[in-house]
């Protein structure tokens, strides 16, 4: 999963982040887990760099360090409305700097700073979401490795694109590098993941359900390199009945900062637990239910009541039960499914006594 730092975090992003957070923390209690997250997977895209180029053209003198999330997000919407086709050569230097030096445009750096504060509050700040390091390998070796296995169709010498040979698996041909020479978002993912493949290591790809076709293809490619791969596609959270990419806006009042501001009266622990109960317990993996502030509020209220109950279990029997539940869930699919976990341990009589659960949910 990659999120470009160009817009505020919406309920769809929050769902993805919380599912990832619970999944990683709960699975870590019973098995070894590493979350592979690297901001460069998001910044090394024409999606980010074309926006940066647009900002530099339209607002070369703006000081972004004090800009608000909404302010930057509105520029992102305007950029998509204007639909300016950037000169492809103008993006080259942006992509090169982002790749080699980890350079991030000040507007996106500001956005990451704003995200970070919200993610800390939400209790997902320790996932390494601010990780930014060079990708594990460069484009050329990873394309070379794909070519060795006969997985690409390379028309660059005709001035055309480079494609992944999806048809060998009955899937469409998928462009990886445009005829302008720009890799799309799949390339940084491959650059980061292919070198991590080891015998016996399982990869779980957590992704936006709308990108299933791409992730099915990624799964096939990684499998070709010897990886064991499973996928977890998460549905988007509709806003007022519609599922839209955040580039079209419509997220006013429902960004992560809006949510954290709304649940103002609850303390931080109740907010964290309530957000998890809602996004991973009320909304299931494929849920098509629109975001509902009233249900989120109710979840935060329920979280506060759960947290108030005093654990009366000196032997920590509940703790043992939690560990059993975690192991059982992990054995089923190789990871702990956040919705199943939330459903199985957060029943009506739950009191969240076990430290293991507190560690996962708060």
């Amino acid at each position: 999963m990659t999120i470009t730092p160009t817009k505020p975090l919406t309920p769809t992003h929050v769902k993805g982040l919380l599912w990832t957070d619970i999944l990683v923390k709960a699975s870590a209690a019973v098995t070894g887990v590493r979350l592979v997250w690297n901001n460069r997977m998001a910044t090394l895209t024409t999606q980010s760099t074309a926006f940066w180029h647009y900002l530099d053209l339209t607002e070369p003198d703006t000081d972004w360090s004090g800009e608000s999330e909404t302010g930057i997000g509105e520029r992102y919407l305007r950029y998509h409305t204007e639909r300016r086709e950037p000169d492809p050569r103008a993006l080259d230097s942006y992509l090169a700097r982002a790749d080699q030096d980890g350079w991030i445009h000040p507007a996106s750096r500001r956005m990451l700073e704003l995200w970070r504060a919200e993610l800390d509050l939400l209790g997902v700040g320790d996932l390494g979401l601010a990780e930014d390091r060079p990708l594990a390998t460069a484009t050329r070796p990873v394309i070379g490795a794909l070519a060795e296995r006969g997985l690409i169709i390379d028309h660059r010498r005709f001035g055309g694109p480079l494609y992944l040979d999806g048809p060998r698996w009955g899937m469409p041909l998928r462009q990886l590098i445009s005829s302008e020479g720009h890799p799309n978002y799949l390339v940084p993912i491959l650059r980061e993941l292919v070198p991590l493949i080891r015998p016996g290591r399982m990869f779980l790809l957590i992704h936006d359900d709308e990108l299933t076709a791409d992730y099915l293809l990624l799964k096939r490619v990684l499998t070709e390199f010897g990886a064991a791969v499973t996928r977890l596609g998460l549905s988007r959270v509709p806003l007022n009945g519609t599922v839209r990419s955040s580039r079209y806006g419509g997220w006013k009042g429902t960004t992560l900062s809006d949510l954290s501001a709304t649940s103002g009266s609850a303390d931080r622990t109740a907010y964290r637990l309530g957000m998890r109960l809602y996004f991973a317990g009320v909304l299931h993996r494929r849920s098509a239910q629109s975001f509902r502030m009233d249900l989120l509020r109710r979840s935060v209220g329920r979280a506060a009541r759960l947290l108030e109950r005093t654990p009366d279990d000196p032997a920590d029997l509940a703790g043992q039960q939690v560990m059993t539940a975690l192991s059982r869930l992990q054995a089923r699919s190789g990871y702990v499914d956040p919705y199943r976990l939330t459903a199985s341990v957060m029943g009506e009589r739950a009191a969240l006594p076990a430290p293991a659960l507190r560690a996962v949910y708060t």
């Binding site: 006969g150 169709i153 028309h155 010498r157 005709f158 001035g159 055309g160 694109p161 494609y163 040979d165 999806g166 048809p167 060998r168 009955g170 469409p172 041909l173 462009q175 005829s179």
Partner: protein, 255 residues
């Protein structure tokens, strides 16, 4: 779908410069001859209408491509020859690897290990699943051909002793357009019987084909053993350009 250059229409060139008039007229007349020939068809048999061909292209080697086009056109059943010829040998080029496509889309003509495969002639709807799976061939870079004269033996038979000479323009021609031009030129010549199995095809790639030099070949009297490829120039859309011309000694019974 790869965009085939527009077919020739003489009206479009009425504004052509006076000094170019004679060349324009010559090319326009030759282009019309080709259209009329396609319209008249090859024979009287039943004709499947509206058929086209899709070529899957993984890589390009000019010599094997030319041999492949000729072989494909020469091995088609008669009714499909007729239908495709009357449809002006309409063809789309798709990026893809033949071996990967063949498992789920059988029925192509290809040779083992070749980087091309031919589907059809078939109606557009029949080729649609294939074009959805693949992407239109995108090759804006100038065509790269081997230096020196190119000799291709047409597959499918013992050496016939016949020699077919073709001249093809490459100056300012993209890889994608080259595929279109050569495919029309060779396929139509093969369908008309100007190229046969075992023939020797000599291809002369030149920067440009000077109309004056080919004046004789473009004359109506030679039309029955000459194949042309004339269409609008990319750079001067109001001018017809000679992209390819081919002459066969087959119908003279020379050998």
């Amino acid at each position: 779908m790869s965009e085939a250059p527009h077919e020739v229409r003489s009206e479009a060139w009425s504004e052509a410069l006076p000094e170019a008039q004679s060349d324009v007229e010559l090319l326009t007349a030759a282009a019309r001859t080709r259209l009329r020939a396609a319209h008249d068809g090859l024979g009287d048999g039943p004709v499947p209408w509206g058929v086209g061909v899709a070529v899957v292209v993984a890589d390009l080697d000019v010599a094997t491509f030319i041999a492949g086009v000729a072989d494909f056109a020469l091995t088609l059943p008669d009714d499909l020859c007729e239908g495709w010829y009357r449809a002006f040998t309409r063809t789309v080029f798709l990026a893809g690897r033949p071996a990967s496509v063949a498992a789920r889309h059988p029925g192509c003509r290809t040779t083992a290990g070749a980087p091309y495969a031919w589907y059809g002639p078939a109606r557009r709807g029949e080729l649609r699943p294939l074009s959805r799976l693949l992407r239109a061939f995108d090759g804006p870079a100038p065509i790269d051909v081997p230096t020196g004269p190119l000799t291709v033996t047409v597959p499918g038979g013992e050496p016939s002793g016949h020699v077919v000479d073709a001249a093809v323009a490459i100056g300012g021609v993209s890889t994608g357009d080259y595929l279109v031009h050569v495919h029309h030129l060779i396929a139509e010549a093969a369908l008309r019987g100007l190229i046969g199995p075992g023939d020797t095809l000599r291809v002369d790639h030149r920067k440009a084909l000077d109309t004056a030099e080919f004046r004789d070949l473009l004359a109506p009297a030679r039309a029955d053993r000459v194949q042309t490829r004339i269409t609008r120039s990319r750079t001067e859309p109001h001018h017809p350009r000679l992209y390819g011309v081919l002459e066969s000694n087959r119908l003279q019974g020379g050998h």
